[in-house]
Structure formats: structure tokens, C-alpha cells
């Protein structure tokens, strides 16, 4: 046991060091790919709170990215509030919207909930387009400020470290969350709502808070995403593809586990970006086909995701989740 612990910590330390020195020897393109993988990993981990641990299959998380991105960007461009502060406001706005989705989850089950969240995200997109005065409508908002105090950096390497820190924070949060009283309560509700209620868990409160936490984190991710692309517009930020990609990454990696989001993102994001870079110019769409195939194959062949498979096969432990 002691040996395994040491072995594990050595591997983790090596991986951490490799990740930290990666931008020093890799080219900008590779750095950018890994950076985006971290961002999506964080978003997938945020989704995991309600989607994996809570078992509420949301397909509307792009709405929270958008609410976060718009909140901090409007604060930045109209009031000069730095996104380092604005991201907390972004989280709160997204979290409040998440609480609404949590209320919906009390009435809607399974696919009904999923479809409701899709409609919710579409509604958010339409409202962002409609209220042109605040959001810039279809033209969006260009971020004109620059400098690290505004979370705007010159090189991809800086963003790399930002996303890395974000991803690590997400990972540590989930590790804490899954053993917290609240997290255990949420999992109990996922497994059997009536039984959870029976042992004194407040289903109503837990579901709403769970959805709010998930949306809060996603909103912060939205701010950071906006700061990275310097530009937000409803049709490029509230995409259904984003909602589904977040869920797909987590499910492929292993939903309801701290590492699922990271594993899924490290596989799917580089795959799609790399294929896009190779084939994008020639055959638009080829990268997406492989993406679709990977999604299909993993969901059909590997229930529990890749982390679940790894745990079963190599670590010989019982499958968690499901």
C-alpha cells in the first residue's frame, strides 16, 4: 500500500512537471491544443457536478458559458471591471440561471430534462440576439482592452498556464466534492430519489444547489473562454455543439468521476482540433466524422467511460457511477 502511494505520487509529480514545462519546448500549435483541452476538461468537470454526480443529463450548458462570458465582458467593456473580478459575477449570474434549471429538474426526468435544457439554451441564445442594446445582438462584443490585469495575454503559453490552473482547480474541487456531505447526498439522489428522501436528504434543495454549482463553475469557464477568444457572439458561443461536446467529453472520459472530464478532453479535443488542422482545409467535416465515431464507439462499447474501463481492467476495482 505504501509502495503504491509512493508510486502514484511519483507519477503525478512527473506528469505535473511535464505539463508545466510543456510550453517551453512545444510549438504554439501544440500548446494551444493542450490549452483548449484543459478548458474543455474544466467545463466537462463543471457539467459533471449535475450531469455525472447528479445524474441530470443537461444539454444546455452552453447557455451558462454564454451567460458567464456576456456578464464579465459587459462588465469589462462598459464598466472597466477586470475579468479577474468579473468572473465571479459571471459565475453568480450563471449560477442563478442554473438554479432555475435545477427547479426544472425536479419536474423533468431523463430525456425530458435534456430536451428542456436544450430549449433553455436556445432561449438564452435568442434573448442574447434580441436585446441588442446590451449584448450587441448578432454582432456580438469585441474585447478591446488588453494586458494581464484584464486577463488578456500576448502568448498562448500564458493562456496555457491559466487553463491549466483552472483545470487543476476543477479537479481538486471535484475530488473534494465527491466526498463532501453534499456530494454524497447528490449521488444518493441520483441512485434512488425516494430512498435519499427517506434518509433525510432534502431532494429539492440538493438538486437546485447542485445545478447552481455546476452552472457557477461553467460561468467562470465562460469568462475565461471569452478572454481567450477576445470576442463573443451568440451564434459562436451558445452552440448546441458546445452543450453536447461538454456532455460527450465527460461521458467518454467517465461521468461521475473527478478524472472523467480530463481524460475525455485529452482524447476528444486534440483529436478534433488536430484532424481539423490536417483535413480542415481539404475536407471540412472529416474531423467531425471521426469525432462522431469515437463518441458512438465509446458510448456503445465502454459504458462508464474510459476511466471506468481503466479502473476495471488495470486497477481491478469495482466500477463506480452508473
Amino acid at each position: 500500500m505504501e509502495f503504491e502511494l509512493t508510486w502514484k505520487s511519483v507519477v503525478i509529480t512527473i506528469l505535473l512537471i511535464l505539463a508545466l514545462i510543456f510550453p517551453l519546448f512545444a510549438d504554439e500549435f501544440l500548446v494551444s491544443i493542450l490549452m483548449q483541452a484543459y478548458l474543455w476538461a474544466f467545463l466537462a468537470m463543471s457539467w459533471d457536478v449535475i450531469g455525472g454526480y447528479g445524474g441530470q443529463f443537461s444539454l444546455g450548458h452552453a447557455a451558462f458559458i454564454a451567460l458567464g462570458a456576456y456578464t464579465s465582458t459587459i462588465l469589462l467593456e462598459n464598466y472597466g471591471v477586470s475579468p479577474w473580478i468579473g468572473m465571479w459575477a459571471a459565475g453568480l449570474v450563471a449560477g442563478a440561471a442554473g438554479a432555475l434549471v435545477g427547479v426544472a429538474s425536479l419536474r423533468l426526468r431523463g430525456p425530458f430534462f435534456a430536451l428542456g435544457t436544450i430549449a433553455f439554451a436556445e432561449l438564452v441564445k435568442l434573448l442574447l440576439l434580441y436585446f441588442k442594446g446590451i449584448t450587441g445582438g448578432p454582432l456580438g462584443i469585441l474585447i478591446t482592452k488588453s494586458g494581464p490585469e484584464y486577463m488578456l495575454f500576448e502568448s498562448q503559453a500564458h493562456y496555457y498556464y491559466l487553463m491549466f490552473a483552472l483545470m487543476i482547480a476543477g479537479l481538486l474541487f471535484l475530488k473534494w466534492f465527491e466526498t463532501s456531505k453534499f456530494g454524497i447526498g447528490l449521488v444518493a439522489i441520483r441512485e434512488d430519489e425516494e430512498a435519499a428522501e427517506g434518509v433525510g436528504i432534502n431532494v429539492y434543495r440538493t438538486k437546485i444547489i447542485g445545478a447552481a454549482i455546476s452552472a457557477f463553475l461553467t460561468g467562470i469557464g465562460g469568462t475565461i473562454y471569452a478572454q481567450w477568444i477576445h470576442f463573443i457572439r451568440p451564434d459562436i458561443i451558445v452552440k448546441l455543439e458546445y452543450s453536447t461536446q461538454i456532455a460527450a467529453i465527460d461521458v467518454v472520459g467517465g461521468a461521475g468521476t473527478p478524472y472523467g472530464g480530463l481524460i475525455g478532453a485529452l482524447i476528444l479535443v486534440p483529436l478534433s482540433l488536430y484532424l481539423n488542422a490536417i483535413f480542415g482545409g481539404m475536407i471540412a467535416g472529416l474531423s467531425l466524422i471521426l469525432y462522431g465515431v469515437v463518441l458512438l464507439v465509446v458510448v456503445v462499447m465502454v459504458p462508464g467511460g474510459i476511466y471506468g474501463l481503466v479502473r476495471r481492467k488495470w486497477l481491478g476495482r469495482k466500477k463506480g457511477g452508473e
Binding site: 443529463f57 444539454l59 426544472a104 419536474r107 423533468l108 426526468r109 431523463g110 430525456p111 425530458f112 435534456a114 430536451l115 428542456g116 436544450i118 430549449a119 433553455f120 436556445e122 432561449l123 435568442l126 434573448l127 440576439l129 434580441y130 448546441l240 453536447t244 456532455a247 460527450a248 461521458v251 475536407i283 471540412a284 467535416g285 472529416l286 474531423s287 467531425l288 466524422i289 469525432y291 462522431g292 465515431v293 463518441l295 458512438l296 458510448v299 456503445v300 459504458p303 452508473e322
Partner: protein, 296 residues
């Protein structure tokens, strides 16, 4: 008076569109009713139906309504293949309903990308006499293509209902939908029924695609998306698993869109639809015409 008739014209156009929404939603509703699967690629099958119309009409110069039969058969087969790959392996597992959402999402991505590679993103359309001929009833003008699309939608919905009530296979489909375990006990081959139902649902989407293509100017790889959302709105509105509900719900959604355009603005139209949709979903999750919802 001029304004009034213009409004009536608009509402009728949207009601007709709503009827076609009903047909697109019918396949989804069937698939849901029988196997509780969410077919996220439904709009993409519709898109393939549109291209089937485009190619059969432009390559062979035959009537678009014969293309509807071609699409029905072709998409029926494609639906069965999809079922074997994406639905049957997961549908009975725990969490299978959500899994079908993801596997069909994979299918959706694959279909859209293939269409992009094969047919490029630029929109196409084909000329047909039905689109350019108009009929006028009580001062309301509509193209023959739209009138036929609406009529065929209603006929198809009645036909599916009769099929489910009278034909042996249809009865078996109903049995599986009502009680899969009981159906298996009395000797119904449940996986086979699921396969047939999925094939039928997709075939109906293909047919709807052809009907849409006869009057809709934009045949493009991502065209399914709009219809996808519309069909889901209709299906939930009607109550998943209802047959006649979809046509009423389709028309209601169509008219709501029309009213939204008149009272507010074109931009507000869709907002109104989603607000109505979410309200119905939250207040009456079983849909307007559905019976009490079984817990999923």
C-alpha cells in the same frame, strides 16, 4: 381589410408549416413511444430525405412525390442500420435513454459531416411545377407544393394510426410500447419490433424531408437542425407517444409562430415558441394531449 387578409394569409402559411412539423415529429414520437429512445439525428435523416428528393428529381427527372417513396424506403433501411449500430446495443442498459441521445448525436455528427463532404455546404434547390403553381381558396394563396405537403402529412398521420390499430405488425408495436415485458411473454420478438419501429420512424422523417424540399429553398447539410428543434418542440408539446396529438401540436406551434410574427416581430417569434414550450414542459410534462407520464 387588406391588413386583415394579409394576417390570415400569414397564419394559414404557418399552420401549413405546422402540419409538416407534425409529420416530422411523428417518427420521433413513435420511436420514443416504443423504446423510450431519443433520436437526436432525426433532423439529419430529414436532411438526407431532402437530398434524396434533390438527386432523384435532378438526376432522373422524375416527379418529387415519387422521390418521397424512394426516400421512405431508403431512409427506412438507413434507419434500421442506425438502430443496429446505435440504439439496440444501449437501449436496455441502465441509463440507456440518455445513452441513445449520445449515440444518435454521434450519428448526427457523422451524417452532417458526410453530407458536407459529399455535397458541400452551399444550399441547393430544385425546380418543380408544384412550387411555382398556386391555388387560391377564399382569397388565401398557397403553393400547390405546400398544400400537398400539408395534405400528405395529415394522410400519413392517419395512415400510421390505422397501421398501429389494424395491421399485425402495428398491433405488436403498440403492445411493445405499452408493456415490453408482457409483449415478450406473449411471444413478440421485442428487438425485432424495435428495429421495425426505428426504421419506420426514420422512413417517415425521410418522407417529410422530401415534402419539405418541394417548397423549402435551402437544401443544405445543416438544414436538419431547424427541423430537429421544431420536431422536438412539437413532440413534447403533443406528449411523447401520441399519434394525433402531433398534428394538433404542430399546427398550434405553427400558428404560435405566425402570431408571434404578427404581434411582436419576426425576431421575437422563436422566443415566444420556446417560452410556450418551456411553460408547457414544466406545467404539463406529459404534453397537451398525452396521458399521465410514466416515470422515466
Amino acid at each position: 381589410m387588406v391588413e386583415f387578409s394579409a394576417y390570415t394569409q400569414l397564419l394559414v402559411s404557418y399552420a401549413i408549416l405546422g402540419g409538416v412539423y407534425g409529420l416530422t415529429a411523428l417518427g420521433l414520437s413513435l420511436i420514443w413511444g416504443v423504446m423510450k429512445a431519443v433520436n437526436w439525428a432525426h433532423g439529419d435523416f430529414l436532411m438526407v430525405g431532402m437530398y434524396t428528393a434533390f438527386w432523384t428529381v435532378t438526376l432522373f427527372g422524375i416527379d418529387p412525390y415519387i422521390a418521397a417513396i424512394v426516400a421512405f424506403i431508403l431512409l427506412g433501411l438507413l434507419g434500421m442500420v442506425t438502430h443496429v449500430i446505435a440504439i439496440e446495443p444501449v437501449v436496455e442498459k441502465p441509463g440507456g435513454h440518455e445513452a441513445t441521445l449520445l449515440t444518435t448525436l454521434g450519428i448526427s455528427v457523422i451524417l452532417e459531416s458526410l453530407a458536407l463532404i459529399l455535397w458541400s455546404p452551399s444550399p441547393r434547390s430544385f425546380q418543380n411545377v408544384y412550387k411555382s403553381t398556386y391555388i387560391e381558396v377564399f382569397g388565401i394563396r398557397t403553393s400547390v407544393a405546400e398544400a400537398i405537403a400539408f395534405t400528405v402529412s395529415i394522410v400519413a398521420i392517419v395512415a400510421v394510426d390505422q397501421f398501429l390499430k389494424r395491421v399485425r405488425l402495428g398491433k405488436a408495436i403498440r403492445a411493445v410500447s405499452q408493456n415490453p415485458v408482457g409483449a415478450r411473454v406473449v411471444g413478440i420478438d421485442v428487438p425485432r419490433i424495435r428495429l421495425m419501429t426505428f426504421g419506420l420512424g426514420v422512413a417517415l422523417a425521410g418522407m417529410a424531408g422530401v415534402l419539405v424540399a418541394t417548397f423549402y429553398p435551402n437544401i443544405r447539410p445543416l438544414a436538419g437542425y431547424v427541423w430537429d428543434i421544431a420536431s422536438y418542440v412539437v413532440v413534447i408539446f403533443a406528449g411523447l407517444g401520441t399519434i394525433y396529438g402531433v398534428i394538433f401540436a404542430g399546427i398550434i406551434i405553427g400558428v404560435t409562430e405566425g402570431l408571434g410574427t404578427i404581434v411582436f416581430s419576426n425576431a421575437f417569434r422563436q422566443i415566444l415558441v420556446y417560452v410556450v414550450f418551456l411553460t408547457v414542459l414544466l406545467l404539463r410534462p406529459q404534453g397537451l394531449f398525452g396521458k399521465a407520464l410514466r416515470r422515466v
